[in-house]
Amino acid sequence: MPTLKRLAKTKSFWILLGLTIFLCLFYSEAKKDRREVAKLTSGEVELCITCHQEVVPEKVHEKKVVGCSSCHLGNPYTLDFKEAHKNIVKNPGDLRYVNLTCGQLGCHPTEISKVKNSLMATNHGMIKRVLEVFEEKEVLSLYPKLSVSQLYHREVYHKTRNSLGLDYYRKLCGSCHLWLEKGKLPYFLKEKGGGCSACHLVKEEDESLNSSRKTHPKLVRYPPMENCVRCHNRSGRIGFTYQGLYENEQGGVGDEVWVDGRWLDRVSPDIHFQKGLKCVDCHTKEEVMGDGNFYYSLHEALEIECQTCHGGDGTTKKGRKLKNFQKKGTQAYLEIKGSEKLLLIKKSVRACSLSYHKRLTCVSCHAKHMPDCYGCHIKYDPRDTHLDKILAKETKGLWIEHESYRRLALPTLAVEDNQRVVTVTPG
């Protein structure tokens, strides 16, 4: 201390210190990489694009228009690596913070609350059905609108931890919902979930676009069928049947292997698929992304029927007009979304209007085949472990599904509510 005090009283000490500081400053300035300040087309400053040269292969979210920070957050006002990447999000579509990204003012604010209430985000129909099968209605009385987002809450987890039904759901069904964090689960499951990105994100395969630069995944307005089938390939297996695939009895033979290892046979596809229609060409935005209402089952949420187009004027049973339905004279057409291609809609034939066919739904005659699995049963082994898709870790209790045999046959018919004849499938 006395030495420091003595030094502090000398001019040369302070001059030397000043020189040292100046030299340090000069050195850091000389090393500094000077770059031009980047601006978006709106005039806003966005320094992210100074470093990030990734190509965004679409116009709406083009880098020069929205920049990076509008979606991925972070700090666009600095070139300091650590500061710039603070609070950054990899997947802006994740429903946990989508209000700050896709749902921010000026982008898609109205869609977000609807999506969060949609069945793909709540999974309420599935959860409710599983709990009913397991005869655990007390869970439903505790949480009448139980949705998958609640299963992530610690309080709900502790209150329902003894529910076998929810354990089953968490382990066998918990990877097919929008609240799932994309990339959190292993293997093929890492492609699932991700909120908005689950449907609207497409990995750009075209390397020739610019081989020297990384390519940003593409965001699409109309989700391709592959994104829908990523989840809709179990239970009724509509995603497979529609495109002419049949999940066979798994003897190690088949025409194709699905990402999860299931063997598939090629069969004749649905006529709509043959004509080039994707899922979203028929299913409306409100059906898929929700219309704001909380629905208890898929039946409540669905609104299109065959008659909406075939013989109808493009109005769904909820009174919404299909945007891609067009009428020219006496002919009706359906436009394939994202292209300008018009498909002629077949009118219903005379047989459809015969009085003794009145109770038949269209599919009861027109569905070619339907996969049926018979003798389905599940086994629970409390000693073993199974991946809990909500907690993203192995927990005690293994669920094993069994079936006696499987057939691709003409669909089984049943009478719904003592009114209409419909097709049904076990499984």
Partner: protein, 283 residues
């Protein structure tokens, strides 16, 4: 505190007083350098340009930032110190009034400093200030037009207020406290270096509100923000009490422990509300 054995006053804490003096001078001088590259028509762009392209620009901006913060904090403690030790009795009321007012001016200048850089925090702080002015009955609109007419005419007046406020402070400083000759003395070197070293160690980038659910103003306003948010009518009164106490304290001869306790309580409440706002903004 008396780390350096320079001439000391038996009463006032000279570390705080000197730090306050030197920081303010550095803040004003670095402000002159920074203002040379600043354009109120393109505020954010010019500030970022200053940081990324102008030689030593980032250093000067950081220096301006840290010296201003140090000036604000040390002036606050200098005020409390003078108050606690009864120095206000050695001055005439006008001098005391100016000291209290100069702190208000310093807060205002620091605040306008945040606004004129026009990053997201600045933009929102400016918008809040404008609306707060407008919410004042009778004089609100005139006050807004005088200080924060951002939505009407951009940042020009705010920038002028920042510059004029700084000159006012500089005049006040040299009239009441120090001469230029005194400032050049070697004994102020430690305070100068303290100001110079901080920009080397820390970097304070322009702030973005992206990813935050609660918009916050500059750190010294967090408490006020919390009080106005959670206790709207009482909060205004609570904030006014501090200044009323300081201004109205001149007649009292002795520092009453009651008043001291009330001030500590006030600061504690302000600090707690600052923490609440910080927590809300970072969760």
């Amino acid at each position: 505190m008396r780390f350096f054995s320079f001439s000391t006053s038996p009463k006032l804490n000279l570390f705080i007083a000197n730090l306050c003096l030197i920081s303010l001078i550095i803040s004003i001088l670095s402000g002159i350098v920074v203002s040379y590259h600043y354009f109120y028509t393109e505020p954010l762009y010019s500030v970022i340009q200053l940081e990324s392209s102008v030689p030593f620009g980032r250093f000067f901006r950081s220096l301006h930032y840290f010296s201003s913060q140090l000036a604000l904090i040390s002036t606050f403690f200098h005020l409390l110190d003078s108050f606690y030790r009864g120095w206000h009795h050695k001055k005439i009321f006008v001098a005391w009034l100016f000291l209290v007012l100069s702190f208000i001016v310093l807060i205002f200048v620091t605040f306008t400093g945040y606004v004129i850089r026009f990053d997201e925090v600045g933009k929102l702080a400016g918008s809040i200030a404008e609306n707060l002015c407008l919410s004042i009955p009778y004089v609100g609109e005139a006050l807004r037009d005088l200080l924060f007419p951002i939505s009407k005419g951009g940042l020009y007046r705010v920038y002028l207020a920042h510059i004029y406020g700084s000159f006012l402070l500089a005049i006040g400083l040299f009239v009441w406290h120090a001469s230029i000759k005194r400032v050049l003395s070697l004994k102020y070197a430690p305070y100068l270096y303290l100001n110079l070293i901080l920009p080397f160690i820390f970097y304070v980038p322009l702030e973005s509100e992206k990813g935050k659910t609660v918009v916050t103003g500059p750190w010294f306003f967090w408490g006020a923000q919390g009080l106005l948010k959670f206790l709207p009518p009482l909060g205004v009164l609570f904030l006014a009490v501090f200044w009323l106490v300081l201004l109205g304290f001149k007649p009292a001869r002795k520092f009453s422990p009651w008043i001291g306790g009330a001030l500590i309580l006030w600061l504690l409440v302000y600090f707690i509300f600052s923490l609440i706002i910080y927590r809300d903004a970072h969760t």
